[in-house]
Amino acid sequence: MKYAKAIYASLIVFFLIAPLLVILPLAFTSSAFLTYPIPSFSTRWFEELVVNSVWSRAILNSLIIATATTALATVLGTLAALGLRSQDLGMKSQIRTMFLLPMVVPAVVLGVGMQSLFVRLGINSSYWSVIIAHTVVAMPFVVISVSGALTGIDRRVERAALSLGAPPWKVFSLVTLPLAMPGVLSGAALAFATSLDEVVLTLFVAGPNQRTLARQMFSTLRENISPAIAAAAFIIIVGTVLIALALMLARRRRG
């Protein structure tokens, strides 16, 4: 039985990471095509990412947009989660559903709506339009993750802080926020990953100057299937794994 479970788990894990195992080695191919077999190993496609201004610009854009999105979504999502925790808020579950809606609404629908809204506001095809669009889809992850952390906080601990002479803003900064920090950090990481990964909304609201890495990979796939895609994917995956590891370490240190 124990072996059966282990085999079953291994198969699931394999199923999940098999696509990565297929694509990642191609990042190191010396061939000009994204196909097996690999003639010899080389780092030319990583050099391409740096040297070719289209790719390096896309990487820079992704970092700018993902960082801004993370900051915005984390602040707003945390505030929303705090508000949803308030005891005298009516229609709490309806409001919560509203906050989570961007996760379930089809991205295409959201994209069309945002594009026409941003055009009317005169901010379409700008960094702001992409950052706002990404924030909308990233915020639900922060709301969920911070809400989860907040439910784990005993209100009596905050009451104790109040009774010991801490004004409400100090209770928040010294007690509530530090205790919710693991949730805030994982929310931020999810927001960052969401932004990095976003293609559909970006297609609608980004101009040629806001081409993100994901968007660039998407169009390269259609135009010429270059192994630079695999190299870019490699970078994204390594980056994501590093963030996840950093989070795990931070959490472990907290005990």
Binding site: R159, S163, G165, P167, K170, R254, G255
Partner: protein, 356 residues
């Protein structure tokens, strides 16, 4: 010593349409240890939460040291609160927890350190100051919570069932510790509990709550010996209740005639007049059991139907003409077999007549 350090004046609390505290009056003196005792849902915790500022007051006034504090925010009330689940800050060390109220008051660093050390030594935890709360036992955590609530010398200390989560032995030890701190530091303590033994052990006065009202507020001895009504008599300790009619009143002694015609002489509440219905509350340990009727005491005959061994005492169940009576006798007294015919006796001052 100001007599009315804390005053509750016609305090009311409503949750929607439910009234959990109703027109409540209570005065507490500086340095007094008052327990709020009652079943769950009786309003005692709500009253404490209103005093701490965690709950708003729906009606009436709470006055602290001459100042109405209904709308004073919690962090300005200067009250130390100890919660049942300790409510320590899990991400701060023991020393940081205890230093928190001092830092909030802007106390100088050196003084914070020495006062924290003193407070922790007071609860015998000076050696654990660098631990996190999660690394301590329940009893140790509660002592840290106590040190944290006392270190800033609050005007009042509020305790919400602080010993409820501890096991019996630890609880009894902490009861004595808190009582000792109360005497030593001259603290004003308001202590919520549903455990009557705890209230009897620790308090200067006990306020017995039911349905959002105080049924009686008096010393432990008074509450136990001279309950003001049936609820108090039944809630605190165990008692036998016998219904009858008051047939005569002379000074503090009443004559109560039971339905079978037996007449008892007993002390009781003031205000009874001949002809009133009365309820005799008779504590099991105040009853003696005799083989033959003695002189000068109230007597009632009956038959022993059961004896329950309780370690330090025996509970004897006796069926009488007036109903089933439970007596509690010392292990040194004679034991009785089931079916034995016995006479129960009690002195007038050991009974207490209340309104039915």
């Amino acid at each position: 010593m100001s007599e009315n350090f804390i005053r509750f004046q016609k305090v009311t609390k409503d949750y929607g349409t439910v009234r959990v505290v109703e027109d409540l009056d209570l005065d507490i003196a500086r340095g007094e240890f008052v327990s709020l005792l009652g079943p769950s849902g009786s309003g005692k915790t709500t009253l404490l939460m209103m005093l701490a500022g965690f709950e708003s007051v729906s009606g009436g006034a709470i006055v602290l040291d001459g100042q109405k504090i209904n709308d004073l925010p919690t962090h300005k009330r200067d009250m130390g609160v100890v919660f049942q689940n300790y409510a320590l800050f899990p991400h701060m060390t023991v020393a940081k927890n205890v230093a928190f109220p001092l830092e909030m008051r802007g106390t100088a660093k050196a003084e914070v350190a020495s006062r924290v050390q003193k407070a922790l030594d007071m609860v015998q935890l000076g050696h654990l100051s660098d631990r996190l709360p999660g690394q301590l036992s329940g009893g140790q955590q509660q002592r840290v919570a106590l040190a944290r609530a006392l270190v800033f010398e609050p005007r009042v200390v509020l305790m919400d069932e602080p010993l409820g989560a501890l096991d019996k032995q630890l609880r009894e030890q902490m009861q004595l510790d808190i009582r000792d701190l109360h005497h030593r530091l001259g603290l004003t303590i308001i202590f919520v509990t549903h455990d009557q033994d705890e209230a009897l052990t620790m308090s200067d006065r006990i306020a017995v709550f039911n349905h959002g009202q105080i049924q009686q507020c008096a010393s432990p001895r008074e509450v136990y010996d001279h309950p003001s009504n049936r609820f108090v008599a039944e809630f605190i300790g165990e008692t036998n209740l016998l219904e009858g009619t008051v047939s005569a009143v002379s000074g503090e002694t009443l004559s109560l005639t039971l339905p079978g015609g037996t007449v008892f002489q007993s002390h009781g509440l003031a205000g009874f007049r001949p002809g009133d219905k009365g309820l005799l509350s008779l504590r099991p340990e105040r009853i003696d059991i005799y083989a033959t009727a003695p002189e000068g005491v109230n007597c009632l005959t009956g038959e022993v139907t059961d004896t329950v061994y309780q370690g330090d005492h025996l509970r004897i169940v006796i069926e009488t003409a007036a109903g089933r009576i439970i007596a509690r006798i010392n292990r040194k007294a004679a034991e009785w077999a089931n079916g034995a015919k016995v006479t129960l006796g009690f002195r007038a001052q050991d009974g207490w007549v209340i309104a039915p």
